[in-house]
Amino acid sequence: MTGSHPDRKWIWGAPFVIWLVLLALLGLNAGLSRLPLGDGNGILAPAIGALQAVLIAWFYMRLKWSSGTLVVAALAGAVWVFTMFLLTFGDYTTRPNWWHVAPEQPTYGTELPSFMGR
């Protein structure tokens, strides 16, 4: 094989487009982080990061062209992580005090955890 491999022009095509999209999303994420969007900043950044992660998994890790069994195996970890988040914040956000934590009173580092004070 030499530098004039006849198929090289095809090799770069689709992965190059995905690379450009990933870089564009990085620019978008970095740019949006500078805009004062309130709570939106804390949601948008990981959401765009997650979109980039999905693009890498779907195209670069070839899930798009893999069998259903492989896709299920790949999703297994993500599904359980999602379940952990759902259970934790499903509980937290329905507690009456969760919404009333004053920003000027951080809960970490200012007082002993309750189990240590009893």
Binding site: L35, Y60, R62, W65, G77
Partner: protein, 211 residues
Amino acid sequence: MSGATLITERSWGEGDQEFRASLGMWVFLATEILFFGGLFLAYAELRSQNVEAFDEAGKHANFFFGTLNTILLITSSFMMTIALVCSDKGDRSLLRAMLLVTLALGVGFLLCKGLEYRSDLQEHLGPGRNFPVRLPAAQAFFAMYWAMTGLHAVHLTVGLGVVGRVWLIARRPVWPENFHRTLHVSALYWHLIDVIWMMLYSIFYLVGRAT
């Protein structure tokens, strides 16, 4: 015929060795996702209780090195994908070159990470006295930062060994029968390092920038 079509040329039947190797690697990667997932959950819980402190601490994370490293990793994943397509097409010289570039980008990531850590320590953002952020919970942000980016760097170092091994095999005049399989599962591991970094970048380097 498009590039996307070329990628699909090598179809995997459920019974063949390549499928089993991929399945094994994906199951392993699922455990890695769960491993980091617990840390992401811990971060989310701490941040939900200490939004102001985390936003304040996030301003001290090094945006330049974080962004540069993201570009390096995205590009390394691109190079690794090209290497895989080269294997599909039998383009050996380009495949070796792409693996070498992937390795160089990975080493570049670690070098930038080292410079970033040095800068962080000079700002007293590491464990110890003289932590510069007034809010106590900001220390939780940096505890998570050191733990998660450090673990990621360890994974990347392992990834360099994995890709380096494939590169050494690719230099042989005759490739072993299982070369494409080895390359594919190695690429999966390398890409996962990139996947995890996408999340780390967005939670450590972008928070608090607008406030």
